[in-house]
Each structure stands twice: as structure tokens, then as C-alpha cells.
């Protein structure tokens, strides 16, 4: 019985130890709490939209060239 109790205690300790280890993982909680992560999202979105606009411009340019060549 004593052996079992010791075993359970150990098991319990190791489980609580494991869960503690998990909650101790550093995440950028402050960044999320302060809301400043939205700044990062906005910046990245702007960059991506800029690239997309560039691609659309290229697409149109090539379209025009294609039409001109087909006219000939």
C-alpha cells in the first residue's frame, strides 16, 4: 500500500510537472495583450497587397503586348 501511495504521488508530481512545463512555454502574450500584433499584421498585409498590385500591373502590361502582337 505504501508502495502504491508513493507511486501515485510520483505519478501526480510528474503530471503536474509536465503541465507546468507546458504553461511555461514563452509565447508572445504581451504582444497580443497590448494589441500591437495588429501593427505587424497590417504591415505584412500592405506589403503583400503591394506585391499583388505589382503583379496585376504586370499582367495588364503583358495583356496589352499580346493584343498588339495579335494585331500584326
Amino acid at each position: 500500500m505504501k508502495k502504491n501511495a508513493a507511486l501515485f504521488t510520483f505519478l501526480f508530481l510528474s503530471i503536474s510537472g509536465y503541465s507546468q512545463q507546458n504553461s511555461n512555454v514563452e509565447m508572445a502574450n504581451d504582444l497580443y495583450l497590448s494589441g500591437k500584433i495588429y501593427v505587424v499584421v497590417t504591415v505584412l498585409s500592405i506589403i503583400f497587397i503591394g506585391i499583388v498590385i505589382y503583379l496585376i500591373a504586370l499582367d495588364r502590361k503583358i495583356c496589352k503586348l499580346e493584343k498588339e502582337i495579335n494585331k500584326k
Partner: protein, 221 residues
């Protein structure tokens, strides 16, 4: 506009992943911490590379069976864009490795495999550049391209599974459900993969059209 629906879809999907990728919930993992979000950006590069290279090899086979030079243009430009997304995957992976595995480059099966694959595809462009006659170049390049894609599968898909690798899920089957991808992350990861593949196809499409215009001008002058 209807013809371009897939371009719009690509932009929407990637925009969604940029927003949800940063704001969505991710599991707290030791070592990885917030870098787990890189999964939405680094891994889709490789998926896009493999999809684009598959397209390239399909066009190479089409060329071999038809001798239509347009297929060769498609194959070459696809390989070009495949190299671009592959290089982005390599660089982003290196940065990620520095802050999680501790070094810019580690002797990992998948990393070295990726490096060799890159070299194999570089040789594809060297080969193309070294043959002047158009049909001959297309034929030689198409045959080499098939070999290159087989090597890509071997180095990126097969060997990392047979050896131990630091990449999750390797040394066995990369089952995403093991610990690295929960259902929240799936909802961002899969759209990211589809979005980036479509975006890469768009760039291929632009390159192919520009190349055809160039060829047209050269033929007429």
C-alpha cells in the same frame, strides 16, 4: 474577370493566412514558441515548389510527345518560378533553424536534400543555356527535367523519411496530426498551401506569356 477567378482566390487565401496566421490560436510548444506560425509561411513555399516542379515535368513530358515548343516554354518558366519559391523556402528555413535548432544550417537529411535538389535544378538551367538550337535544347532539357523531378522526390520525400531528421514527422511518416498541427492550425495551413501554389502559378503564367511575346518578336524580325 471570370477568367481570373483563381488569381483572386490566390490573393484572398494568402491575405487570409497573413491575418489569421498571426491572430489565430496556436499550441504552446517548447523550443518553437511563437515561431510555430512559420508553418503557415515556410512550409507552403515547399509545397508550392513541388507543385510547380510537377507542372514543369508534366509540360516536359507533353513536349516530348508533341514537340510543341510552347510546352517547353511552360516547362522552363515553371522550373524558374519553382526555383524562386524553393530558394525562399531554403532561406526562411535557415532563419527558422537559427532560432530553434541553433544554427543557420544543420546536417539534416532534408536540408542537404533540399540543397542538392537546388543544385540539380541549377544544372537544368545551365543545360538549357548551353544548347543553341531550339528543338534540341527543348528535348535535352525535357529529358533532364524528368530526371530532376525524380531526384526531387527522392531527396525531399523519400530519404528524409528513411533517416532521422529534425523536421517534424520525418524518420517515419510525416503524420501532421501527431503533435505539430491541431485543427486550428489546419484551417490556416491548408488555405496557405493552396493560396501560395495558385500565386506561384500566376507568376508562371506571367513569365510564360512574356516569353511567348519575346519569341514572337524574335521570329518576326
Amino acid at each position: 474577370m471570370l477568367k481570373n477567378w483563381w488569381k483572386i482566390l490566390a490573393v484572398l487565401l494568402v491575405t487570409y493566412t497573413i491575418i489569421e496566421g498571426f491572430l489565430g490560436k496556436v499550441p504552446a510548444q517548447p523550443i518553437l514558441h511563437e515561431t510555430i506560425r512559420n508553418l503557415y509561411f515556410h512550409v507552403p513555399m515547399w509545397f508550392a515548389m513541388m507543385a510547380i516542379m510537377l507542372g514543369s515535368v508534366v509540360y516536359s513530358i507533353k513536349y516530348l510527345s508533341s514537340s510543341d515548343i510552347n510546352h517547353d516554354i511552360n516547362a522552363a518558366q515553371s522550373a524558374h518560378v519553382g526555383m524562386l519559391v524553393g530558394a525562399l523556402g531554403l532561406i526562411t528555413g535557415s532563419v527558422w533553424a537559427r532560432y530553434t535548432w541553433g544554427a543557420w544550417w544543420v546536417a539534416d537529411t532534408k536540408l542537404n536534400g533540399a540543397a542538392i535538389t537546388t543544385l540539380i535544378y541549377l544544372a537544368y538551367f545551365v543545360l538549357r543555356g548551353s544548347v543553341d538550337e531550339e528543338q534540341k535544347r527543348a528535348r535535352v532539357a525535357a529529358v533532364y527535367n524528368i530526371f530532376a523531378y525524380v531526384m526531387l522526390i527522392v531527396f525531399l520525400m523519400i530519404l528524409p523519411r528513411m533517416n532521422d531528421s529534425l523536421h517534424p514527422g520525418n524518420g517515419g511518416n510525416p503524420g501532421f496530426n501527431k503533435y505539430d498541427l491541431d485543427s486550428n492550425m489546419r484551417m490556416v495551413f491548408y488555405p496557405a498551401v493552396i493560396g501560395w501554389i495558385l500565386l506561384a502559378i500566376w507568376i508562371v503564367n506571367l513569365r510564360v506569356r512574356a516569353e511567348k511575346i519575346k519569341r514572337n518578336l524574335l521570329m518576326n524580325n
